[in-house]
Amino acid sequence: MAAVKGPLSPHLTVYKWQLTMLLSIAHRATGVFLSLGLLMLSCWLLSIASGAEAFHAMSIHINAWYGQLILILFTFSLYLHLCNGIRHLFWDTGYGFEIKTSNNSGYAVVIVSTLLCVITWTAGGMS
């Protein structure tokens, strides 16, 4: 496509930051990030299938501080994408578009996904 000369639509930077906008961007970003996590999940499954040696070789990285940090980021991304995804599914059926409702559901997404992430990492065998 030839470069268009002339005014373009307003760029993102002219808008005041809002929760709805932040979550929209975060939904995309976490989606892409989680796709990479999915490839790591594949590697993990393949390591289990390959035998104890491969599993332990991978466990060393998973249990290291950087592995744990990445896992925590994946966990939070997963919950954020899940909660915000449910919000999107409600929108798809035509509900929740009012400014007040979408702001409130946005706050709920942030609070619930943070809580779920904390619960996952404090309760149970993962920690």
């Binding site: 496509m1 892409v32 796709s35 999915l38 499954l45 393949l46 289990i48 299938a49 995804g85 065998g125």
Partner: protein, 126 residues
């Protein structure tokens, strides 16, 4: 002479020339993934032992193997649909866009089938 009605001509053809299938599959896989994700995260939290043998035993339970297989396939389907939209939005050169989408589909099918094969191998105790 064209005997097809105007509706028949446009049905299934949006601006992307493939109608609403992409949108629809994205939502259906999302809907599938809601309970499956809750299941896998609950199972991970409840898991008391995370050593090699315990994890193998967990996957060897038929219900776990089945749901894990379903989860992985739905995830790959959902992920490649999502990444495709991101590529379509941000890569403007037609051939680069096309190549990236083909590459993403190839990777998703390859990694998805490898994961499925891994689950089946563990399930069969091989």
């Amino acid at each position: 002479m064209n005997l097809r009605s105007p509706l028949a001509n446009v049905r299934g053809l949006g601006s992307a020339k493939e109608g609403t299938h992409h949108f629809w599959y994205q939502r259906v896989t999302a809907l599938f993934l809601v309970p499956l994700t809750i299941w896998i995260m609950t199972a991970l939290v409840m898991m008391t032992a995370t050593d090699y043998e315990s994890i193998r035993l967990w996957i060897q339970s038929p219900i776990n193997a089945l749901l894990l297989l379903f989860f992985i396939i739905a995830l790959f389907f959902h992920a490649q649909l999502g990444v495709q939209v991101v590529i379509e939005d941000y890569i403007h050169s037609e051939w680069q866009k096309f190549s990236c989408i083909i590459l993403i589909k190839f990777l998703a099918i390859l990694a998805g089938m490898a994961s499925a094969l891994a689950i089946i191998k563990i399930f069969l105790g091989l």
